[in-house]
Subunit: 337 residues, 2 copies
DNA sequence: TCCAGAAGTTACAACGTTGTAGAACGAAGG
DNA sequence: CCTTCGTTCTACAACGTTGTAACTTCTGGA
């Protein structure tokens, strides 16, 4: 039913292998032959069967991208960049959602689905050191997120600790002293939450401000609703603070909403600072001061790194870790000093 | 290098076809044989080669989802639901971004990439009636968006006209008379913009309010920045209005931001109403009154529709159109009467 | 005891492509 | 005119799976 190489070959009056050669840019073909073949291809509307091509050649020209959830804006924007970068390189992207769940992350790594893929970009939340073996397979994997475990794969990451420290110091520099944080999650062994908390604590320590556990609000998932809930917790328990650092923008925005519902003014009474620099942050009211973690660079670099792994001989290189530059983006919710 | 059926067969001491039968759930297999085979599969960590399976069987267990951009929150949330629904049905989702560009939409429809796919869910912006031929191929396509053209495929849609009319009537009922709209795009022959504008005009007409072109602001893309720009246009040209209806939430949020920058109070001076009910809308300040278009239902129904097309014999059925229920979600930016 | 039919297993041929090896052809060099 | 060597094209064999059809081996009824 579908048009095959043989159909094209017959119409062009050549062997089907010659058609294959034309398609694959084999150099030694007479211009006249090439033209005949190309005309036949156009006439029949031939499209190569990619399953057959993959089976034979081993290449799929497809990558997988696995994120916790696509309706977390950070991951949506990340995915958008990854897909665009992959497309530029001629690759299609298959998107998986893991829910940030260790079991689902592991299941994905074992899944035969990935064998229709040349590599995986994974943004893990649940995996730990004990899962290193699951990554040892032949499939190239690029991890998004700090190299906190000794996993045998490339990492493309943001500078969580440094950025969180810079963000906190920005608040301190603007005169805030009682800085609450939202997003701590002790279940996460070594993910962003822990690293950003560390940066926060380093900043406090560097400025002689005591770490106060009462200012730390938990949030396992990082939706707006979780930020709102966390802020309610803080308010309910009578915590006193003059700034809030949300471990991501959605948490910060959820919290900011609750602050204003409670009659507190942002930034007059409480400054709010986020992390991610979502498109949304610039349009919030007040606009959200936040950390730009270099999302686009991360996406492009992840694709690039994966491509160089996939390339012949690329599998042998030592695992690399590359970190994006970050910047505090000054806006209304936390004005500079 | 990879483990194949033959390796498993050898270890289990059966023919490789028997292994295939076990994997495919063929009923007539002795329990003892099945167990031997399963043990061998587990021991070798066998995973079927999906390219080979696709080549032979014609099925790919993959669907493609094409949206304009994943960093438009509406499409991110939609994609999240589609991927989840597909996964429940055992399908993997391949995500494409078209930029809402007719040429790229057409290119995708022609692309050999889709032959590694059992079907496509497409959210078109640029296609028109003249492109019907491009849809006539063998690949099942489910369109998201009103059946404004006579395309030979299924449609799963929101009730754009009715919902926009209801939204406008909601504003009218709350006492607003000068209602600006943001998002008109005459380049789009018959997309959401046109339909929502029609609903708006119907509502005005039904209440004896004259349609005033000066209250209509254009926006080709529907990012927050476009909403902000459109609102600047309205303000710059001295348009007088007591309400704004953004054709989607991001436009409305961008506009709301500019309104407040200009010193106008929402909703006291100007009511703002959006369309989409993004997660974000509930946390905006003020929270955004909007239309819930039934996004999750649309996503699930699109996957379901595509599945029934893919199923044997499904190709023959008449094209169906199914529309989601909608609801105006009352929030602060446009309080009820 | 034999036979029919079901249960259980296997052999073989595709699916459409690319890699390898080599055949046919022509041009250049002696 | 023969040899050599590139150019151009072709034949054949995979890649790993599933569909078809056939072959055994059982089971139960006459």
């Amino acid at each position: 039913m579908a048009v095959t190489l043989r159909d094209v070959a017959e119409l062009a009056g050549v062997s089907f292998k010659t058609v294959s050669n034309v398609i694959n840019g084999y150099p030694h073909i007479r211009p006249a032959t090439r033209e005949k073949v190309e005309r036949a291809i156009a006439e029949l509307g031939y499209k190569p069967n990619l399953s057959a091509r993959s089976l034979r050649s081993g290449r799929t020209d497809t990558i997988a991208l696995a994120v916790p959830e696509l309706n977390l804006s950070y991951f949506a924007e990340l995915a958008s960049f990854v897909i665009a970068a992959a497309e530029e390189a001629g690759l299609v992207t298959l998107v998986e959602q893991t829910g940030g769940d260790r079991a689902r992350e592991l299941a994905l790594l074992q899944s035969p689905r990935l064998n229709r893929t040349d590599g995986l970009i994974l943004s893990p939340l649940g995996l730990g050191q004990e899962d290193a073996a699951a990554l040892a397979g032949p499939l190239p994997v690029v991890m998004l997120g700090e190299r906190t475990f000794d996993w045998p794969c490339d990492h493309v990451t943001m500078r969580n600790v440094e950025a969180a420290r810079a963000a906190t110091e920005y608040l301190i520099a603007s005169g805030r002293r009682r800085i609450a944080v939202i997003g701590e999650n002790e279940a996460e062994v070594m993910g962003s939450a822990r690293l950003r908390l560390r940066g926060y604590r380093e900043a406090l320590a560097a400025h002689g401000i005591e770490y106060d556990e009462r200012l730390v609000a938990r949030a396992t998932l990082w939706h707006r609703a979780d930020g709102a809930r966390a802020m309610h917790d803080l308010l309910d328990r009578g915590a006193e603070f003059d700034a809030v650092f949300g471990f991501n923008d959605t948490l910060a925005l959820g919290a900011m909403r609750v602050l204003q519902e409670a009659g507190l003014r942002v930034p007059a009474d409480v400054a709010v600072l986020g992390f991610d620099d979502l498109d949304e942050a610039a349009y919030a009211i007040p606009s959200l001061t936040t950390v730009d973690p270099g999302r686009e660079w991360i996406a492009r670099t992840a694709v690039e790194t994966l491509l160089s792994r996939i390339a012949p001989g690329g599998a042998d290189a030592e695992p690399r870790t590359r970190a994006a530059a970050f910047a505090v983006v000054e806006r209304e919710s936390a004005p500079p000093a």
